[in-house]
Every structure is written in C-alpha cells, then in structure tokens.
Symmetry: C2
C-alpha cells in the first residue's frame, strides 16, 4: 500500500513514446500491491497500470511473468497482460527500476464475498488452471513447503508473536514433512489468490491480478490457498460451508480433481495456513508498527490451521 518510487514526467513521456498508446493524460500513484510502485496511467490511447518493480520481484523473473500473463490473456483469462512497445519489449527501465506498462482491468476487490462470488472465483481459478496447461515456463516456488522451516527460523522467537506458537509450528512442520504427498498434478499456479487479488463486478470475475508469487507447484495447493482465503470468518475461526462448497463447485465446473488430490486437500490447506501464518509472523516481527506497509495479524491463519487439522476437515471441501 504505497508508492516507493516517483516518476519524472519527462521520463514518463519518453517511456510512453516507445508504445503505440498515445500521449500521457494523467498518472497517479495507486495504493495497490505490497512490494511494487504502481501508477494508474491514462493516455490518449486508454488506461494502463505502470508498475515499477521494487526489491521483492527479481528482475530476472520478469520475463517469466510477461510470458505467463501473455499466455493466459491469449487463452481468454482476465489477467493483466504486459503491453509490448513497438520494438516488442515489455520490460522497460524508469527511475532506476525495471518497469512494465500493463493492461488495466475494471472491477473491485471484495471484502465479504457471497457464495455466488466464491463459486465465480473457483470457476475463474479452474479456468486459469486449464489455460496454463499449455504454458511451458516454470518457476521454482520460493514460498513452497520446503521453505517454510526457513521462514520460521528467520522470524526468530515465534512465542513472542503468539504464545505457544513455536511448538505448534515445529509439530506441524514435522507432520507436513512426514505426510506431504508426491506426484500430484503440477503446473504454474497463482499461489496467492486472496480476495484482494480478484477483481469482481457484481457476480462476475473481471480480473485475476498480482501473479508475482506464481510458481510451479501442485494445482491442488492453489485450490487450498484459495479455499483458506475466501471461505473463513475474518478471525479465521469459522469456515463458512456455503462459501466453501460453492468455491469447490465452481472449480469443479472447470477441473475434475483426482481422488488423490481431493484426499490431500485438508493437508494442503494446513500447509497453506502455515505458509501465511509464518510469512505474516515474519513480517510482524520485522516490520516497524508505523511503517509504510500495513502489518497483517498472523493469528487468523493459526485459527485456520487448527480448523483444517480437525478430523472432519475433508467435509469443508466436499458435500459428499
């Protein structure tokens, strides 16, 4: 929620002149994205997002994101493709940062999705998984389950965040290591499809955005992340079955998960809960309370973890 880097108007005019998008009419920094500087750019040719990549997105990863979003957009997915300049380049430099001019998508992010909207989100996720199948790029998941122990260690004293958290995390990491499935269907996944990253108009999904955690991993893990982020009360204690089953129904309209994948969903959702619990705990410890970025309370993901640990957790994914 910030603009870290400013753009000089003359530099902006020179950048826009490389494209067939007319001339600049307006450029306003927007409070979107956690780690980049984003501007809503209006030209005589339309509206665009100008993103300057700050430290978290590695410049070396940008060609992967350009290719991925181009592929998905070509397949009809509502994703914000990077625009190419007249020379065919999508990756530019401005204000000392790598930068892209990106397609603008209408829609707003939901804070209280209805079951119908959850179903639409599930369907959009499934359609994205179908579309990504023909994409040949790969990217290691630096936030995947093999890395969670490292995040826990880097956080330091977990008990200072939530009393008793260290023992809970240690036990969960050991259990996940012992039980993590192998050989499930794998391709590039979004890996962070929270409601903030889905744009909606009414009950229609108009945008899947912020693919900067996209990486190669189990597609069922993507379903688990989406389930964990769309179907719980704000404090994470209660999973709303109407929303949860609607999300799964929407996904099933596009993708039939295998029996092995369905059986693994509670475990993968425990993993997803642990992933966001740990990264939020890490950021809680390492972000000053009054910094530019809002710290997010980790405890709602501890509550989700507990819910997914329960014996009846499979019922949150299926009416069967």
């Amino acid at each position: 929620m910030a603009v870290y880097t400013e753009v000089d108007p003359d530099d902006l005019a020179a950048l826009v002149a490389r494209y067939d998008i007319g001339t600049v009419l307006s450029c306003k920094g927007i409070a979107e994205g956690v780690e980049n500087s984003n501007f809503l750019l209006e030209t005589t040719g339309g509206r665009f997002i100008l993103t300057l990549y700050e430290k978290r997105v590695q410049a070396g990863d940008l060609p992967f994101f350009v290719d991925l979003l181009g592929h998905l957009a070509n397949q009809g997915c509502p994703v914000p493709a990077m625009i190419r300049d007249r020379g065919g380049d999508a990756i530019q430099q401005i204000s000392g940062r790598a930068a892209c001019i990106i397609q603008f998508l209408s829609g707003i992010s939901l804070t209280h999705p209805t079951p119908t909207q959850c179903e639409a989100a599930g369907r959009a996720l499934g359609a994205m998984h179908r579309a990504v199948a023909g994409f040949s790029g790969t990217r290691a998941n630096s936030m995947g389950h093999r890395h969670w122990r490292g995040v826990a260690t880097a956080t330091g004293d977990l008990d200072a965040v939530i009393p008793g958290l260290q023992a809970t995390v240690d036990a969960e990491l050991a259990w996940l290591d012992a039980n993590w499935p192998s050989g499930l269907p794998t391709h590039v996944i979004h890996a962070d499809l929270f409601p903030d990253n889905v744009l909606v108009l009414g009950d229609r999904v108009t945008g899947l955005i912020d693919f900067y955690f996209a990486a190669t991993d189990y597609r069922a893990y993507d379903v688990a992340v989406t389930h964990a982020s769309w179907t719980f009360s704000a404090d994470g204690t209660r999973c709303d079955l109407d929303r949860a089953l609607a999300l799964m129904r929407g996904y099933a309209d596009e993708i039939a998960l295998s029996d092995e994948e369905v059986a693994a969903l509670p475990l993968l959702a425990r993993g997803a809960s642990l992933r966001f619990l740990l990264t939020r705990a890490h950021d809680w410890v390492h972000t000053p309370a009054d910094a530019l970025v809002t710290r997010k309370d980790p405890s709602p993901f501890l509550n989700r973890l507990r819910r997914y640990q329960a014996d009846d957790a499979l019922s949150l994914f299926s009416a069967a």
Copy 2:
C-alpha cells in the same frame, strides 16, 4: 501519500447509487493529498475522485470548500468541483468519514517546470483570482502570518532541526511583525499552489487542485507562495530568473498588482518561505522517520528566506 481509510464495496455501491453517475467499475486508492484518503473511482458514467476527509480537514469547513470550488468551476476555472447527488448534497458519509465525490481532471504534476509552464501557472493563478472576486465565502487563514509564532513554539527546539534556526526565526518573526503591510487587496486565495497542486498537459494548465488550505488573505501573498514554490532550485539556494519573471508575466496577463502589492512581494515571499520552513520543521520533529507520510526537508525554505532577504529581492519579481 497514503490511504488511511478503506471503503467497503457494498458501502461504495450504496454511495454511488445516490448520484446520477452510473454504477461502480473500479475504485483504487491513490497516493495523493497529504491528509485525506483519495480513491480514483470509475463508474459507467465517468471517472471521479472519492475523497474521505481525515483529521486535518475540519468537517465544518467542507461547505466552504464545496461552495468555493463550485463557484470557481462555474467561472470556468479548471478546479475539481464536488459532485452533488440527486438530493443536491455534495457532502456524504462513508467508512465513518465525511466524503465527497469530485470531478476528475486530467494532467500531471510537474517536477521541473519550464519558463513557459511557469507563465501558464501564473496566468492560471491570476484567472483564479479574477474568478474568486465574486465569491462571498470567507475562511480565516489558520496558516496565516499571525499563526507562525505558534507553529515555531509548537515545534520545540528549532536548533535541533537546523543549527542556528531559532535565532533566525525569532529575528524574522519580529521583522515581519514590524513590517507586515495592511490594507492590501484581500479575498479567498489558494495559499498552497506548489507544482504538485497544478496539473499540466504540455504547456497547458488543466487543473488547480488541493484547495484545503484556501483561506481569506492578501492575493499578493498567494503570488508570493507560488513564486517561492515554482521558481527555485530544489535546494532553494537559487531563484531562476527566467522562470520567476515568466510566472509574474503570466499573472500580470490577468491581474495588475498595485504598486503597494509589488513593493510588498519580497516581504510576503519572506513570509511564505518562513511559513513552509516552520510547518516542515514542525512535521520533521513530530513525524517518525518511518511513518506513512514522507517528511519534507525544511532547509530549502530557509535558503529561499535568505534569498528573499537580499537587497535585490524585488528584481526576482519584475524586470523593471
């Protein structure tokens, strides 16, 4: 540079439904304005700014701003008028804040204005002064010269900000008190027309924005504030005569200042420099280094003050 308050999509839809502006297509928080939360709102009827007023703007002042901007817009000035809903109300409530939906203006803020752009800014200021003449509203200038001593006192140890600053400020305040002119032409002025508050496309001014310091004061003081903020090097040590005289030439196309006003310009510019020196020193002391709002270095306005104290300062305002 921040969004302090979030807006719930359902509340937003209900707010927009009060107006004849269609339905919401997009709403993005923008990093604009120092003390309000601003959103770029797109509806099926057009683009607007949604502003939620935070602590610095008093709710009781809002009708004054609505009337002022409505008057100026009616006179053809490029200012962002507040839109009225079907019941005629411009001031609304959302997320526990007073809020207005405001006309969107194209254009970008300059960081390095050319002489031609300075001339256009001077002309736009003069045209605004002509247009405001028929406006009957008044507002006491809470940042006017009678209040600067109070800002200095509230800042605390000025020497901790810049060594020797306390003595400089004490002497300047005494001199300004002894020499402040009386009876100069007075009406509502912008009082903060820095380049960030002027939108430009090429050499054309397309918007004068952020009127939330607008108050009743000498019109020549408004000229002095604009001169101090448009015509100096970034460090405030050097006034660019080409830009300075262009600004004055543009203003003179619209308004002929009296001899008394011209003679007072160096003094008023010393006052303007002191005003921004003091408020920046105050915010420097009272804003944590890592807070949401960027602190601005006060020293460039100490340098401007010194420049305007020089014997030849009148030459910065006139080629005569």
